[in-house]
Symmetry: C2
Subunit: 445 residues, 2 copies
């Protein structure tokens, strides 16, 4: 078998029973996190534009758009839900490759799950094989691929989406091989697009193209059986030094999903230890923002290099300002998308709090570490040493942290009851016979 | 203005009146040739697969599929007509870059023309700017781009399709810039796919993605305004040594479409001078295939290197056999897709004729040259010196040659009357008020 066929074989043969418990659990966590980031962005202008275009094309009502009452055809649902989930850049990350793995794969199979009487275990299995394929493809081309300017979530993501969709559709080895190939020759997305609507479009197109590849392969469409490894195939064309060994080494024996990471806050990752410290001190002690005299953060040098903006003017700039992040944590007691609107960045109370934040660079402090000290007007000094920020490899976001993130993201989008219902359904996903139940729970509140 | 904006500006500002007569004439020739190659392949299995998938997705009846009675939405029409026109690999070529320029651009604007009350001149103008943009993008990344393994028709084609669609939609400078950018970040297609259904899929996807980019840009979708030239933009990501000067050098002063070339026969280009000679001798003298004792072809060395297969077993192999090509020309008196079916390659009369063909390599004979000598059983020897093969730069296919090609391609697909009607409508395209008339003439016969 070629390397591409070996990956296809893994997709075809993997059963839910083959997935170790931690793998199943992580897949469930991915689902909850992905639904949250997608629902949270479901009111964004970009979603309006996509749905308007779908309407203009007369797209058929086959599958739901999360958090909206729109229904569009399978590929448009994959495109829209996939784009939506990457708008805030708050979705999960495969740290070894900076791939955002859920955004391209989840929407492709969610679209298929709606009409297909698909069980929770079947859904999780398709997701895990999709994740494994995209992560291995990403590992095989990384880092040259990313350095060249490819947005790995758009490229490897399309191949992962095809793998997952092929699994959902029950394709055989040859069909799955052609699905992977047909996806690989559509794989695209450039880093030049960061900061524009094209960035979230990349996982959306990856989802739609991967799904299309699987739908075509089911009908006999042909591609190369060496699509990934051939001299003019995906890995060599999109990387200057691919390591093809990654594609199949110990395939089925290890699971890349176990290296997944969830973002606790939708802002520059180096600000996270500082935010952790402020939030913990605020929660653990009773004081109001007005009672604070000074917030001192001892931090790694990258904090000022990457997020040293003292007077951010827009929500986007706020994401790259440790001063705004710490101030918002102090005033609002939470750090989610709502803390990065233009309005919030210009709020006088937050601007005032920003002035209290002092950052001291310490060469002995690691990137995921910070020492936060808050001096109160009454003279008390509170201190918290964040050894590993939440969401870091050593301190992954807890299930409870993920639930909190989900609640915070979906506030104002769906009702609290609906949010709780989704959390519960995802927790019980292994017992769900028809994923349509979950999808229905995610429709417009 | 950035380079990407300068290209967009050219798209926005070019009027039909700005197009020199030879440019208009060549655009008209492209249209007839493109319609012919698309109609000719309209019964192919791959088209069935695409239309079946479109049906499964409930695609709305917005635009026609050439030669079929199916109607699908605009993007699916672009995808299907675009794929169809590259199935036989018989469509036109921008020789400097081996880009097939019509296949991605024509279907994107044909889809828009159907519903839009679009005039012939407006259509030709959109095509010419689309051609210019894709050819300049192709020139800027060639040859490294192609050497790396990119199928330039799929990549540069998407950007050309976006330019043409933006023109048809009347987008402004900013919208057109974002359309080019949004297309460039979807641009894909690998040479590894040659010989599979993915190869013709590339221009189909290019057409659909370019059209989608323009539709989204019309609604305010954003991309980078330096999408083509930025360090992580299209040219640098997809080429190791781009020449950005090509993007805008003398833009509007020269037209790449004047370097366009049409294929007279759907087989390896080095066989063309030999085929020319056999056909001319057969037409100019009255003899039957049975009267021939020997066919001698003095040819460039590449003829045996690239098309030296003496006993082809399939239609595809026949395309790379000078022996089959010359034999088919002798027996059938024409060389079109019908001469490259498996059945035709296995026909005893053609196999017998194949045995009469002798090829003699001559280092003084150029690639587009051949000396064909036919010895008849009655002792007569007929000779023809093909100085420049038809379809070569020095001997472009004549209007009459293009009409013959069109008739031969559409035989059995549409009626002869319908074919004549299309030829006439294309000849009079500058006077057409509504392109819907032409599209209707191309529907199922």
């Amino acid at each position: 078998m070629t390397l591409t066929e070996q990956l296809a074989d893994f997709v075809v043969r993997t059963r839910f029973e083959d997935l170790p418990t931690p793998v199943r659990h992580e897949a469930q966590r991915c689902l909850l996190d992905w639904l949250g980031v997608a629902l949270g962005a479901s009111r964004h202008t970009m979603v309006d534009i996509l749905l308007e275009a779908a309407g203009e094309l007369g797209s058929s009502p086959q599958a739901s758009i999360l958090g909206r009452d729109a229904r569009v055809d399978l590929t448009w649902a994959a495109l829209t839900n996939g784009s939506m989930s990457h708008i805030y850049d708050y979705d999960d990350t495969h740290l070894d490759t900076v791939l955002h793995p859920s955004a391209p794969v989840m929407p492709a199979i969610l679209a298929l799950a709606e009409g297909g009487q698909m069980s929770g275990p079947a859904f999780l299995t398709a997701f895990v094989v999709g994740y494994e394929v995209e992560a291995r493809v990403a590992l095989s081309v990384y880092p040259s691929h990313y350095d060249r300017g490819w947005h790995i979530t758009g490229t490897a993501g399309a191949i992962g989406a095809a793998a997952a969709a092929a699994k959902m559709l029950g394709l055989n080895l040859m069909q799955t091989t052609h699905a992977l190939g047909t996806a690989s020759t559509q794989a695209a997305g450039m880093r030049e697009m960061f900061g524009t609507m094209c960035k979230p479009l990349h996982p959306g197109k990856a989802a739609a193209n991967g799904l299309l590849a699987a739908l075509l392969a089911a009908k006999g469409f042909t591609s190369s059986i060496r699509a990934l490894e051939a001299p003019r195939g995906f890995c060599h064309v999109q990387s200057d030094g691919p390591d093809l060994g990654w594609l199949t080494r110990n395939l089925g024996g290890t699971f890349e999903i176990l290296k997944n990471s969830f973002k606790p806050y939708p802002c520059g990752v180096v600000t996270h230890p500082g935010i952790d410290g402020v939030l913990r001190l605020r929660e653990g002690n009773s004081f109001s923002a007005g009672a604070v005299e000074e917030i001192q953060i001892r931090a790694n040098r990258l904090v000022l290099e990457l997020t040293g903006k003292t007077e951010p003017a827009t929500g986007l700039e706020g994401k790259f300002s440790i001063f705004h992040c710490a101030a918002a944590a102090l005033v609002d007691g939470t750090v989610g998308p709502a803390q990065f609107t233009d309005d919030r960045v210009r709020d006088p109370r937050i601007i005032a709090a920003r002035g209290l934040v002092k950052v001291e660079v310490d060469r002995d402090v690691r990137e995921d570490e910070a020492v936060v000290s808050i001096l109160l007007r009454d003279g008390r000094r509170l201190e918290d040493h964040v050894v590993h920020a939440s969401g870091s490899r050593e301190n992954p976001l807890s299930d409870e942290g993920l639930r909190k993130k989900f609640k915070s993201l979906t506030e104002g989008i769906i009702s609290a009851q609906q949010a709780d219902r989704i959390i519960q359904l995802v927790r019980e996903i292994e017992d769900i016979d028809d994923m349509g139940v979950l999808i229905k729970a995610c429709s417009k509140g």
